[in-house]
């Protein structure tokens, strides 16, 4: 796993090191606490985000108590599905931790592999949520305006879903940035093409098999075809991003990781306060 950092072109690495080490003022800019500015700002943001989710979760719990609105939430929820996607999200946190560790060890291929896993797991979670929302709206008749329960449920879990989606997008940017700058260099790296193949094919396979399992629901097929077409296009269009990952960007990946872990922790609370509490 521990491939040395020779994957970065030698000259770029030297230049960035040069800028960081020979400028004494840059050196004096070491922060007062020793925690980097970006990380400090992310912690402040997460503190604030706690209050965002805190307000939404309180709204849901208050209304659940005084005005149940839905006769039998146990009938509404499918705890097996939500439990599965919660497990997937937790495992994505585990992969994120491995990503950050690999980034700090300057093991770029390893980082890329774990990052890909994190993104795929995040996408599975999002897929689960899309399925759940569609199922609730079409089969169970729960909408934003059908009851207060619908209002609080969709706004709370929807806000969390938007957080996950932004996180997936953010991590995808770093995945693309860690690819070689020139498409010709792709073959030079061991297992890179295999990784990209998995990234490309596995969502398609899952979606197509869902199409057959779930009574030929056309949306699965379309989503599968969509990803099959979209992914190569993203790779081609990412020219300005590819090759931008330098080893000092490990900090940025770590900051993205902080965000990702936070979003997962919040999901544990939502899963408890919205789903599990109905089975007590």
């Amino acid at each position: 796993m521990t491939e040395p950092e020779t994957t970065i072109p030698e000259n770029i690495q030297d230049m960035s090191d040069h800028a960081a080490q020979t400028d004494p003022l840059e050196a004096l800019k070491a922060t007062s606490t020793g925690v980097e500015n970006k990380k400090m700002a992310m912690w402040a943001f997460l503190a604030s985000d706690c209050m965002f989710f805190g307000t939404l979760i309180s709204t849901h719990l208050i209304y659940r108590k005084i005005y149940p609105g839905v006769e039998d939430p146990q009938d509404l929820f499918s705890i097996e599905l939500t439990g599965f996607s919660s497990f997937i999200l937790l495992m994505s946190s585990f992969l994120m931790a491995l990503t950050v560790s690999a980034a700090h060890k300057r093991n770029i291929p390893g980082m890329r592999a774990f990052l890909m896993g994190t993104i795929l797991f995040g996408m599975i979670f999002l897929g689960g949520q899309v399925y759940e929302f569609a199922h609730f709206v079409h089969d169970k008749g729960l909408t934003l305006s059908s009851s207060v329960f619908g209002s609080t449920f969709y706004v709370l879990t929807g806000t969390h879903g938007v957080h996950v989606a932004l996180g997936v997008f953010w991590l995808l940017m770093w995945f693309l940035a860690s690819l070689p700058a020139r498409l010709g260099d792709f073959r030079g790296e061991r297992s890179l093409l295999l990784q990209l193949g998995i990234f490309w094919v596995s969502p398609v396979l899952v979606l197509v098999s869902l199409y057959f399992v779930k009574h030929h629901e056309i949306a699965y097929l379309l989503a599968g075809i969509g990803w099959g077409i979209l992914f190569p296009l993203i790779l081609l269009a990412s020219g300005s991003l590819r090759g931008r990952y330098k080893r000092e960007n490990a900090l940025d990946v770590e900051v993205a990781g902080l965000y990702w872990h936070f979003v997962d922790v919040v999901w544990i609370i939502i899963f408890t306060a919205v789903y599990l509490v109905e089975y007590l």
Binding site: L25, A27, T31, N37, A44, S48, F52, Y67, S145, S151
Partner: protein, 663 residues
């Protein structure tokens, strides 16, 4: 004065971005491009102040129209609906567009100078805060020009008045979206200030050596990041109620309007301290300087500020005593509210201790600071009265409450902010504001303010309800209302003249040295106005009142100056993207305001059958926002190096090896 600039590329990563972008990186420092793309905390601070003073005048005119309407009984200067719109916009403008941004102007300009930093931690994020503030203010005030006019819901917008059923017009939607955008401004600003204060202090500037204003900036920023989410979510819920049929506050669908009150005041009470703590910070800077004594009980003043901030989150329900919370909740919130008078009292005693036995100079800032202590105490005393639920039940929604919070917000916040402007004006412009005129203006404002608001105590006690558009002559309120209006006109004249003096002094004020007040804190060590890079050297701090110690202290407590290395001083590049992100948010917000309305509401004189949907403006606006954030990230902070002139580097020494250890 020969400052050599060199546009070396700091890192190769940034060089790459320029060639790919639609816009190359803006380099001009002057003119309109320099203004729109600036990342300099000093320019941003000045822009905040200009915007805030403009909105202060707008809110002041709204207040004067209200007072003119109430001058005589059964007056019909304006109708009831316009009156409702005016007090809604007056409150919203003063809280969110005048006092908060004026505080933010000081945070921006003064705080980095006080801690010896070159800029804030994220200069481009700072610019984003400025542009979202300005565009958010524009969104709220645009409501006057569209169907239905401004919102008429009160500045705290209680449900269910804000529902589509009772407020069908667009004013409420403008209010919701404007406050959301302003929330972004406050939040990104606060993340930035927290990081800056915690992380970018000069060597030797420990937390307990921070100037008091910087401490209060830190505490205020924490209050903002923890309090604003509550109102943001409440506004999101209200927006969903109005546009997408949810039932958060809709009684017919099972919602509870009281939830709005809780969410609003969980934000609203910390907001009170967001407005007053910066003011207390300014006062704690000014009193020691003009008493020629150190601040009395520095750790206690810091600690009581933190306690005020902490307790501020535990007292919100005292705004809701009359809603019937139950005995236990009411007693608990009454007790916690009374508790807040302790740290506040500690601060006041410390300020008195500071001037006690000092060699006081009665300059204009000192007069405003002393006026602050007295007037803020008046507001504080009536505040303690409100903390008792039975008393509060009598005073709820009466003019007594109006008197109370105008004493703490004008006699408190505005006095302190004007005090801060007189005090730091020489630092910002290198010129003085005339002290004689300043004193005349102080007495004008002081007399006008008391004449306007003291009679309101009596009016409230004799039963005049707030938010009443007129009253009968038999009620016996006529005389006090007449005096109050006369006072308001004097106050308005005073504030307007103050703004004129401010503008005049920018161009014609007497030139002055870098330290005209013989002051105590680090910002007075650098030139007035400060250079782009704030300090030509890196200061090493050895004392709390470092500037004072440099002048009068022992040799061991003097500041050390470390010269920049051969590369010079690293400055961040300017950027278009903060402005573009704000414009994207503005467009997206306008899309939500007009969501579901016929196209005519947005574009007059156009007749068509189309309703505005989210696809027309919101989605394109969000796409623009995300595109701009993406470009922002790709462009990187960039940078170039500046070399200070040799005379600026007099008395500096080279950095020691151990001081060079960095990342």
């Amino acid at each position: 004065m020969s400052t050599a600039a060199s546009h070396e590329q700091i890192a190769d990563i940034d060089a790459g971005a320029d060639s790919h972008g639609i816009w190359t990186r803006p380099l001009r420092k002057t003119g309109i491009v320099g203004f729109l793309t600036t990342v300099d905390h000093k320019k941003i601070g000045i822009a905040y102040a200009v915007g805030a003073l403009f909105f202060l005048l707008v809110g002041g005119v709204e207040a004067l129209i209200i007072r003119l309407q109430l001058m005589t009984p059964e007056n019909d200067l304006i109708d009831a609906r316009t009156y409702n719109q005016l007090f809604t916009m007056h409150g919203t403008t003063m809280v969110f567009l005048a006092v908060m941004p004026l505080s933010a102007a000081f945070f921006n300009y003064i705080m980095p100078l006080q801690i010896g930093a070159r800029d804030v931690a994220f200069p481009r994020l700072n610019a984003l805060g400025l542009w979202t503030f300005i565009l958010g203010g524009i969104v709220i005030n645009l409501s006057w020009f569209f169907q239905g006019g401004a919102p008429a819901i009160g500045w705290f917008g209680y449900a269910p008045l804000t529902s589509r059923q009772f407020s069908p017009d667009l004013g409420t939607d403008f209010w919701i979206i404007g406050l959301q955008i302003l929330g972004i401004a406050s939040l990104v600003g606060s993340f930035n200030f927290i990081t800056t204060i915690v992380n970018m202090r000069a060597p030797g500037m420990s937390m307990m050596r921070l100037p008091l204003f910087t401490w209060m900036t830190l505490i205020t920023s924490f209050l903002i990041i923890l309090a604003f989410p509550a109102i943001t979510i409440a506004l999101v819920e209200l927006m969903f109620d109005r546009h997408f049929g949810t039932h958060f506050f809709e009684v017919s669908g099972g919602g509870k309007p009281i939830l709005w009150q809780h969410l609003f005041w969980i934000f609203g009470h910390p907001e009170v301290y967001i407005l007053i703590l910066p003011a207390m910070g300014i006062i704690s800077e000014v009193l020691p300087v003009f008493s020629r004594k150190p601040l009395f009980g520095y750790p206690l003043v810091v600690f009581s500020g933190a306690v005020i901030g902490f307790l501020g989150f535990a007292v919100w329900s005292h705004h809701m005593f009359t809603t019937g919370l139950g005995i236990v909740a009411t007693s608990a919130f009454a007790f916690l509210t009374m508790l807040i008078s302790i740290p506040t009292g500690v601060k006041i005693f410390n300020w008195i201790g500071t001037i006690w036995g000092g060699r006081i100079r009665f300059t204009t800032p000192m007069l405003f600071a002393l006026g602050f202590i007295w007037m803020f105490m008046m507001g504080g005393f009536t505040g303690i009265m409100h903390s008792s639920p039975p008393v509060d039940a009598q005073q709820q929604d009466s003019y007594f409450v109006i008197a109370h919070f105008h004493y703490v917000l004008i006699g408190g916040s505005i006095f302190a902010l004007i005090c801060g402007i007189y005090y730091w004006f020489p630092k910002v412009t290198g010129r003085m504001m005339n002290d004689f005129f300043g004193k005349i203006l102080f007495y004008t404002i002081f007399i006008g303010f008391n004449l306007a608001f003291f009679p309101m105590h009596i009016l409230g006690m004799s039963g005049m309800p707030r938010r009443t558009h007129t009253y009968k002559a038999e009620m016996g309120w006529s005389e006090a209302n007449l005096w109050s209006t006369i006072g308001a006109l004097i106050l308005g004249f005073g504030i307007a003249t103050f703004v004129i003096q401010l503008i005049y002094s920018c161009f014609r004020g007497e030139k002055t040295s870098s330290d005209p007040w013989d002051a105590r804190t680090l910002e007075w060590e650098t030139a007035s106005p400060p250079k782009e890079y704030n300090f030509a050297y890196n200061p090493v701090i050895h004392a709390r009142d470092q500037s004072w110690e440099n002048k009068y202290g022992k040799t061991g407590k003097r500041m050390e100056k470390i010269a920049p290395g051969e590369h010079g001083i690293h400055m961040p590049d300017q950027s278009w993207w903060p402005l573009v992100v704000s414009i994207g948010l503005f467009i997206a917000g306008m899309g939500v305001v007009f969501h579901g309305q016929p196209l005519e509401a947005l574009v007059p004189f156009v007749t068509s059958e189309i309703d505005v949907s989210l696809l027309h403006l919101t989605v394109p606006g969000l796409v623009l926002t995300f595109y701009a954030i993406f470009k922002w990230a790709l462009e990187g902070p960039g940078g170039y190096h500046l070399h200070p002139s040799p005379e600026e580097l007099k008395g500096t020494r080279e950095a020691q090896p151990h001081e060079q250890q960095g990342h």
